[in-house]
């Protein structure tokens, strides 16, 4: 379970990277498309087809952020109950809370564009929290190492 916890936490951190990359890809595709004469209006935004191929980044961002990451965060919380990671549940709750905040920000930023900046910054908090949670669940070296290390530090 400890491994499960660690893998889930690292996956969430990795997802933050994927999310940033996907968004940058979509934005680059948009700029390239507009350069070539494309016009973005609500007819295109509300349309069901893809004006340029890199828009797949935006679709991925939506699916990942709206479903995959929240599910991973939820699974992390559940695994924390069994994983015996020191303060593992607390860290899983922090990750889940930041993810929920992130999703809410994501859905609100069309309303209040300034929240886009918070969404971007909060992504780094999700990454950091997930990474720290994963680090807490590192598989311990055989006890002898710990003992040796402790012994070495012990003033004689």
């Amino acid at each position: 379970m400890r491994t499960t916890y660690r893998v889930l936490a690292y996956l969430i951190a990795l997802e933050v990277v994927v999310q940033a990359a996907a968004l940058a890809l979509a934005f680059a595709g948009l700029v390239h498309w507009v350069d070539g004469g494309g016009v973005l209006d609500s007819g295109v935004i509300e349309g069901d087809s893809d004006p340029f191929p890199e828009i797949v980044g935006l679709i991925m961002h939506g699916i990942n952020g709206g479903i995959v990451v929240p599910v991973l965060a939820l699974l992390l919380l559940i695994s924390s109950f069994f994983a015996r990671v020191p303060r593992g549940t607390v860290w899983a709750l922090v990750v889940l809370g930041l993810v929920v905040l992130q999703v809410m920000l994501g859905y609100s930023l069309a309303d209040v564009p300034g929240l886009g900046a918070v969404h971007g910054a909060n992504a780094l908090l999700v990454f950091t929290a997930a990474f720290l949670a994963a680090r807490r669940a590192r598989v311990r070296r055989p006890a002898a190492d710990d003992v040796a290390a402790a012994t070495a530090d012990t003033p004689v």
């Binding site: 209006d41 007819g43 069901d48 549940t89």
Partner: protein
């Protein structure tokens, strides 16, 4: 000994997290087949809670038709196909055609005509229907799969009959898998001419549709050049068949907004350098006066396409969208409504919001109407002859073009500011996020009418409720053997 309680505690915590989620998930599953009559809860709007008939002694919606003995004045056959086809512009598109083309043939009638349309499904596997968008047809002819008819299966056909009783610009489209089929081109225009024909103005249809992200006017891309005589007036019938609203403005001439959603504006004033927002699903007839000196005029349709009215064939330079707008709330002059909206028999709230949850087992952020997600929203119950007032409040974070079938409603106020212009009659009303509209209508068309967002993917995501008349029932079912999927 310590291990056992710990495992129990962990399992308990996991169940405490998963249990409610599982329950919400399970609870959100839709049955395979259901009647819209049984959906959600009944909202009587403060009126009498008449027995809501379920077939016993009530009026069967199928009997609400035009006079069956009257011969048709306009007869049309529409052949529906799912295929790869070529637009007028030459571009090849995977989608849907009617009579081999998309947009389908323009149906033209004179006011008072009985229009009879035979719909034949040759090759659309999911089935098709035709909804007469903006025409207040009899209850049986509305073309909503699972509500007013069964979807027309491949190889089958269906006949629609209605009297085109109001002159104006309308359109038609499938209401089976509508989000997919309308985007794919299963649509066309319906124009009802007044009688006698005014004759003075030239008439140009401008049906705007995006195919695969490409903006078109009547299937053509870029500027559509139409010859026009200097000094004459040209009626440009703008139809927005897409899921988003469209700004329309005119470069090179003043114009009037002669009609909105198939209803003439009362005493429209001539405006210049102003833009008009046409709701998704909505229509606007612009009356353009051609300059005497023979210079051309461009009617800009959403920024990427336009109609160029030109005596010489020469196109004028595009002009940017003016920041000033034509606000229909104060455009034109008042006229009688035909009923008193200040003495309503029913008052309904249509509050649009959204919240996280499950819809048919799928997690997401789903639309709610009056706090209820699909299919638990309200059914607005009216009796024939009722004056109905409805307040639409949108706090959902997105714009919604609201479309009530079978009726035209008049806008009373927006954000508390009363309407002061011509009666603003709508069938498709663009409600931006944060806006509140008060509308009123006369319940004069018995039936079961859906009232939904015409950003069709939103309707697919549950932004749809219905208006039912006391005593009227429908035998049709969503789902069922004919796989009716209206959205």
């Amino acid at each position: 000994m310590r291990r056992r309680p710990r495992v129990l505690l962990s399992t308990g915590a996991a169940l405490a997290v998963l249990g409610p989620l599982g329950w919400f998930w399970q609870d959100s599953h839709l049955p395979g087949t259901w009647s819209v009559m049984d959906m959600g809860y009944t909202d009587t709007g403060g009126g009498a809670p008449e027995a809501h008939a379920h077939g016993d002694g009530g009026v069967d919606l199928r009997t609400l038709t035009a006079d069956p003995d009257r011969p048709a004045d306009v007869s049309v056959t529409l052949i529906a196909r799912q295929e790869r086809f070529r637009l007028a512009s030459g571009r090849t598109v995977d989608g849907f055609t009617l009579d081999g083309t998309s947009p389908g043939p323009t149906i033209r009638a004179t006011v008072g005509d009985l229009v009879e349309v035979r719909l034949v499904n040759i090759s659309v596997p999911d089935g098709v229907t035709i909804h007469w968008h903006g025409v207040d047809v009899p209850g049986a002819e509305d073309g909503v799969a699972g509500v007013t008819q069964d979807a027309v299966a491949q190889g089958a056909e269906h006949v629609y009959r209605f009297v085109a009783d109001r002159p104006g610009t309308y359109w038609y489209h499938s209401h089976q898998h509508s989000a997919e089929q309308v985007a794919g081109g299963l649509l066309g225009a319906l124009v009802v001419d007044p009688s006698p024909s005014p004759g003075s103005a030239a008439d140009v249809l401008a049906l705007v549709h995006h195919y695969g992200g490409v903006a078109t006017v009547d299937g053509r891309e870029g500027d559509v050049v139409v010859p026009a005589t200097p000094g004459t007036r040209v009626r440009v019938r703008v139809v927005d068949t897409d899921n988003g609203p469209m700004w329309v403005w005119v470069g090179g001439s003043p114009f009037e907004v002669a009609a909105v959603d198939g209803t003439d504006v009362h005493e429209p004033s001539r405006v210049r350098d102003r833009a008009l927002l046409v709701a998704a699903g909505g229509r606007a007839d612009l009356l353009v006066t051609m300059p005497e000196d023979g210079s051309p005029v461009r009617v800009h349709l959403g920024g990427r396409t336009g109609v160029v009215l030109s005596p010489s064939g020469r196109a004028p330079a595009p002009v940017p969208r003016p920041s000033a707008t034509v606000d229909l709330l104060s455009y034109g002059t008042p006229a009688p409504l035909g009923f008193d909206p200040d003495a309503p028999d029913r008052r309904f709230d249509y509050d649009i919001d959204r919240r996280p949850g499950f819809l048919d087992g799928r997690p997401g952020l789903w639309w709610t109407v009056d706090g209820h997600a699909y299919p638990d929203g309200p059914m607005f119950l009216v009796s024939e002859g009722d004056v109905v007032r409805m307040r639409i409040v949108n706090t959902s974070g997105e714009r919604h073009p609201m479309h009530l079938h079978g009726h035209h409603a008049v806008v009373l106020s927006r954000d508390g500011v009363p309407a002061t212009g011509s009666p603003w009659w709508v069938d498709s009303l663009d409600v931006a996020d944060g806006e509140t509209y008060e509308i009123a209508f006369l319940a004069d068309n018995p039936g079961v009418w859906v009232d939904h967002c015409h950003n069709l993917p939103h309707a697919e995501q549950g932004l749809i409720v219905h208006l039912a008349y006391a005593g009227v029932s429908t035998p049709f079912l969503i789902g069922g053997p004919t796989r009716n999927v209206p959205e």
